[in-house]
Structures are given as C-alpha cells and as structure tokens.
C-alpha cells in the first residue's frame, strides 16, 4: 500500500467583535486603569461584567467600579508557559476576587514559585505600560501586602470608548487525506487519473473517497479514467478572490472524465472564455511540478451529445 499523506493545516482568522454597552465600558475602563463590574438584580457585583443577569435574565447596565486589589480564591501553577500566554516566565493561573466584587476574575499572578502562592493571599493589579482596551491591559497580578485600594470614583463613562475588538482564532491540525485520496494523488504524479469503482452500483468515484456514499460500502477496485472528458456545466468567474492567484475572467467547470461516475471541478483555458459551452470536449494540461492539472483545454473533438452527460451535471 502506498504511503498515506499527511500535512499541516492551519486555520487562522482575525474575527472582529462589536462589544455592546457592557463589554465596551469594561474594556475602555481597563485602558483607563479602572476595573468595572456590573450589579445584578439581587445586588451582587459581577467582575468581569455581563450583559444579562445569569439568574433572572434581566438586562444589566448598572456598572460599578471595584478596587484593583483583591484576594486569590484558587490557583494552579503553570511551570511551562506557552507562546501567547500573559507571562513568559512560570506563573500561577489565579481566580481573584477584587475588593468590592462578588465573583472572581481569571488572570495570572507573577510569583517566584508555587511555594509563594496560596489561596487567600492578597494581590494587586499590575497595569500594562501600553493599554488598548483589552484584558491584557492588566499585565498580571502581583503579591500585595497593603490595605485594600480605593476605587478611583469613575462613573463608568469614558471619552472615545472602545466599541470593538479583534480576536484572532487559530487552529492547528494535521491533515491526512486517507488511503484512497493518497493513491489518487500518487497516480496524479504520473499524470494519470485513477478513481475507485463501487462494487454495488458500479459507479466510478473520482476523486475516490474509499467508500460509496450512496451504497455505504467500501470501494477498492482502482479504475483509470480520462484523460479526456466533457464539460457538463460551468460558470464564468468575473470577480477575483483574494486567496486565489487566478486572473479573471476564467471558466470554472464541471468536467466528467471519460469513465467517471460524477464530474470533478476544474478550470478551462486555451479557448476564449465566452466560447466555452456545455458538451465541450477537453483534456488536462499539466505544468512542471504541479500536483493537479493546471487547467483543461479543448481537444478539438465534436461536442458531446447532451444525452451522454445529462446525468453528470
């Protein structure tokens, strides 16, 4: 059996978020070195604040300033910080109940080692030197021996409030196309297109999936198809996609390779885009080092009769 392929797949995108009134005030406050909570219907102060009461579902808008000092309610030592975490040196993850709050905020404590951390210890916010309106405006917490700090007297209203943030998301996968697709890709390297026939309905899947989705049985019998095929339908793409290095206009077509049970998708070139038609006979054009045909071009044969491909649109 040929080697099964593997490759990294990184999915990464910066999502924007509108904050709404409560998160807007909270993050703007951090920028101004003020920690805001919100008062619930039953009078508790939640930090960080939420828009809706977790008990009554009431809309909450009564913002309350709390102190930048507080008490650790529980903690866990992190001996091996990872990239992107708040501190580069070993630290404690802590839940801190700030003075004036009824709930605890998740953050980190800069401490020399786990022996210097305990539940009940007093801590104080260390503000970041540059603040933008983000939870990282609190750089971390430091151990603190003084009296509870007093709130600054903020009203919770600020000039030039932060109304939106960007939250990058990134997922790292190892992708494997599996046994059937790996065999298909191996054959493509020799400029051959090899699908798999379903033992039950006899249809040839190109690319193969290792199973027939209609019959629900495994496919193993390899069948070479093409190289020629028929354009069964298509569209002319006139808008350029940012992530694609293809000049517009171009023709995106469904191509039924001779012997295949369904059409695959490819680009048609070697013919003016406005002369491409359903039934056009085409063949693949390979370029050096590419895994897939670069495009398909007309073979010069007469067009296929509609009835020969009407089930393959």
């Amino acid at each position: 059996m040929p080697e099964v392929l593997r490759a990294p797949l990184v999915v990464e995108f910066p999502f924007t978020r509108s904050l709404g009134p409560v998160q807007s005030a909270f993050l703007t406050g951090l920028r101004e070195r003020v920690v805001l909570g919100v008062r619930t219907t039953d009078g508790r102060v939640l930090v960080p604040p939420v828009e809706y009461d977790p008990v009554t579902a009431d809309e909450l808008r009564d913002l309350v300033e709390v102190a930048p000092t507080g008490t650790v309610t529980t903690w866990a030592w992190n001996p091996h910080p990872r990239p992107g975490q708040p501190l580069a040196t070993p630290f404690a993850w802590v839940l801190v109940r700030l003075d004036g709050a009824d709930t605890s905020l998740l953050h980190v404590l800069d401490a020399p080692g786990p022996d210097s951390v305990r539940t009940g210890m007093r801590v104080r916010v260390r503000w970041a030197a540059t603040r933008t309106g983000a939870i990282t405006d609190i750089a971390c917490f430091d151990p603190y021996g003084g009296a509870p700090a007093q709130p600054s007297g903020s009203t919770g209203e600020f000039a030039d409030p932060v109304t939106g943030i960007v939250t990058p998301a990134r997922l790292d996968y190892t992708y494997t196309p599996g046994r059937a697709q790996s065999a298909y890709l191996d054959a493509l390297a020799e400029h051959r297109t090899v699908g798999e026939r379903c033992p039950q309905c006899r249809k040839v899947y190109v690319p193969p999936r290792g199973a027939c989705p209609t019959c629900g049985v495994a496919t193993t019998e390899q069948v070479e198809v093409g190289p020629r095929g028929t354009v069964t339908t298509f569209c002319i793409v006139n808008i350029k996609a940012r992530n694609l290095d293809i000049e517009v206009p171009y023709v995106y077509a469904h191509i039924a390779l001779d012997g295949a049970g369904l059409a695959l998708h490819g680009r048609i070139a070697g013919i003016p885009y406005d002369q491409v038609r359903m039934g056009l006979r085409v063949e693949p054009v390979w370029t050096e080092g590419a895994r897939h045909p670069d495009h398909y071009r007309p073979t010069g044969e007469p067009d296929a009769d509609y009835d020969t491909y009407r089930e393959l649109l």
């Binding site: 995108f13 978020r17 509108s18 828009e51 008990v55 249809k203 649109l313």
Partner: protein
C-alpha cells in the same frame, strides 16, 4: 398517542442591516428573542427550553454559542440545545424546537437563529486551504452558478427569468420594514444591467450580507389557547439530508428536497400543493433558485417552474406569492435566514405580516436549504389547528 399540535404564538426579528456595530452577538439575538416574547405576551419564566441555531462555526468564530448565550436567552436552569445544518439551520432549529412540543417534552419553547455577517467571513469559512486540494473557487456564488446554468439548459428557460425574481423580491422588500435592502429606485433594467459576477449570475441576483436574528415562541394547545394573538399552527414539518457530491446527484432538483416536501405534504394531507398552499417563503439566495425550487417542491412540473415566475404567479398579488418579505435576496443573516422563512410563513397565516400581508392566506410553506444543496428543512403552517 397522537402528537401534540404545535402553535407559533410569538415572532420577533431584528431590522436586518449590513452591520450592527452597536450590539454584541448576544445583544442581537436577545433583541429578536425579546420581541418574540413580547408578541406572545410572555416572560423568560414562561419558557421551558431554548433551541438555537447559527451559521457554521468558522463563519463567526463562535464555537459554542449555547455556552455564551445562556444568560442572554434566559436559559439558566433550562435545557439549551444548539442545531447545526449549514444554511438551512434556521429551519431545522425551529423543527427541533417544534419536535420537543409535539413529543410533549416541553410546553413552551423559545427558538432563535442569528448571524452577524459583518463580524463573520463566509467566503473564508467556505474556502479553507485544505492540503493536496486545488483551490479553484472562493465563496458560494461560483459554486451555485454552474447549477443555475444546468437548470437553464434543462428547462429551456429564457435568461431573463433570474432578473424577474430579483426585481420582484426587491420590490416586496420595500413593504417589509425588517428587510435589509430597501432599493427604492429599483427597476428591471437596473437588475438586468448589473455586473455579471459568476455568469450566469448577476450582482443584483445575489443575496446581501446581513446582520440579523429571528426568534419564535412555539407552544402546545394550552399555550395557544392563552395566546393574545392568532397562532399559526404547524401542519407538517420535515428535514432531509444528502451528500454534497455523489454519483447520480441531481444538483438542480435534489432528491432530498423532493422527499422533504413530500413528507411535509403527506403530514399536512396536501395532494396538490399548487392549489392548496396559498403562499411560500423559500430560501432563494440566488434568484434562479425560485424557479428551481418551484419544481423541486412540487409547485410545477420539471422544466416548468420558470413559467410561473414569468407569468407573475409568484408576485405579491399573484396566485402563488413567493417571498412576500423580500426573501433571502433582500436580507441574508445566513444563520437566521431559514428561520426567517419559517417565521414569515407563520406571519402570513396569522395575518400579522403588515404591508406585505397577502389577503386570505390559510396555509403557507416555509423552506430552507443549506450546504451544497444537501440539507433541507420545511414546515407547513395553517391558520386553523391541524385536524387530528
């Protein structure tokens, strides 16, 4: 034991717009939910369970909306479920909620669907850089355009049909205060001269990107008896799925869509949908999908759907109005779009649709589809309770 009849007693939606920068996602969903409760004259405490739906996770990057939205939707201490079926999700979400009532698991259920396309990226979410695959296309328009061409070839439809649908839906939207696009100066000529994006699909024949949410309160017979306004009664509902691509797939008129409609009609005892259904809200993100779905849903024989559109049958004052609200072509918060179809069908039989109300609607169909024409969800609602 027969099923409990399901009634729609509250409907809410937001004004759909390009960007709602003033609210968080929670604030947006909450707005629709609050309006649905107000319509039903109920409070959060009257709700037994909450069922929500949204667009695929990569679109907005919100992976677990049920965690994030529990307090905004008053779901603390109650069951909160999330449904996930790509673009049809708004429809299937409503059907899951309805199933909880029909099975007498709960008496009154709040169901919501939403999307902030302005904080999302559908094109990116649909075009992940999968290793070993050839990137050829980005977004949905290029994916669906070849199917439209296949329909034109199969039916012999004149190439102006798509523009007629877009012109109709955009005019209907002018009567719907919640619609995103309000193109007061729309003309047929403008639609027909708009740029070709994915030939044969023109710019004006495509849906916009919208921020919006929709919510409904569904309840049982006892709940309907207490409702302050006329309920819409569910007479049938069904979902069907099939793979995106398989040998023998009919992308123009998918088998899953036909089977789904047949199941709904069987439940509702409909034998001639063209005569027995008064109005339809169907998921038409590209205008040509109106004639395609008219055939798929059994309102016309194969190859004949475009003739209904051309003859004006689907106009607001036609014999079978389609997308009275302006449809997906006028508002498309993807995750909510299916539920908006269901809700608009219900508004019509309740007589609550306002300026886009069609006189005398007794039975209306709500339809949603998603993925590569692979998920279908539909319900048929009536002004009268179903006969049991």
């Amino acid at each position: 034991m027969s099923k409990e009849p399901v009634a729609v007693v509250g409907i809410g939606q937001t004004k759909h717009v390009a960007a709602r920068r003033d609210v968080s996602i929670a604030g947006l969903v909450r707005e629709a939910a609050r309006r649905a409760l107000d319509d039903a004259e109920l409070t959060w405490a009257d709700i037994d369970a909450v069922v929500i739906g949204k667009a695929p996770d990569f679109f907005e990057g919100v992976m677990m909306p049920e965690l994030y939205l529990a307090d905004a939707l008053g779901a603390v201490g109650k069951p909160l479920l999330r449904v996930h079926t790509a673009g049809s999700v708004g429809g299937s979400t409503a059907l899951v909620a309805a199933g909880l009532i029909a099975a007498r698991v709960h008496g009154t259920v709040l169901t919501c669907a939403f999307e902030k396309q302005s904080e999302s990226n559908a094109m990116w979410g649909l075009s992940l850089p999968i290793p070993f695959q050839q990137p050829l296309l980005a977004g949905a328009g290029g994916f669906f355009a070849p199917h439209v061409r296949a329909y034109m070839r199969r039916s012999g439809a004149p190439d102006t049909i798509g523009s007629l649908v877009a012109y109709k839906d955009r005019r209907n939207a002018l009567k719907n205060p919640f619609a995103h696009l309000h193109e007061h100066d729309i003309t047929l000529e403008k639609v027909q001269s708009s740029p070709m994006l994915w030939d044969p699909i023109r710019y004006s024949e495509t849906c916009p990107s919208s921020d919006g949410a929709c919510a409904m309160v569904l309840t049982d017979r006892a709940g309907a008896a207490r409702a302050p306004r006329p309920p819409a009664w569910m007479h049938g509902g069904a979902m069907r799925s099939e793979p995106t691509l398989f040998a023998g797939k009919d992308a123009v008129s998918p088998r899953a869509g036909k089977d789904c409609a047949a199941d709904v009609y069987r439940q509702a005892r409909i034998t001639d949908p063209r005569r027995e259904i008064d109005a339809v809200e169907m998921y038409v993100p590209f205008s040509w999908y109106e004639p395609m779905w008219l055939e798929n849903l059994g309102f016309a024989d194969e190859g004949e759907g475009w003739k209904l559109t051309e003859a004006g049958v689907t106009e607001l004052d036609g014999d079978l109005p389609v997308n009275m609200s302006g449809g997906v072509l006028s508002s498309n918060p993807i995750g909510a779009s299916g539920m908006i179809r269901f809700a608009e069908a219900a508004l019509q039989v309740r007589g609550q649709a306002g300026e886009h109300q069609v006189e005398g609607v007794r039975r209306a169909l709500g339809h949603a589809y998603g993925g590569g024409s692979q998920f279908f969800a539909m319900w048929l609602v009536g002004a009268e309770p179903p006969s049991t």
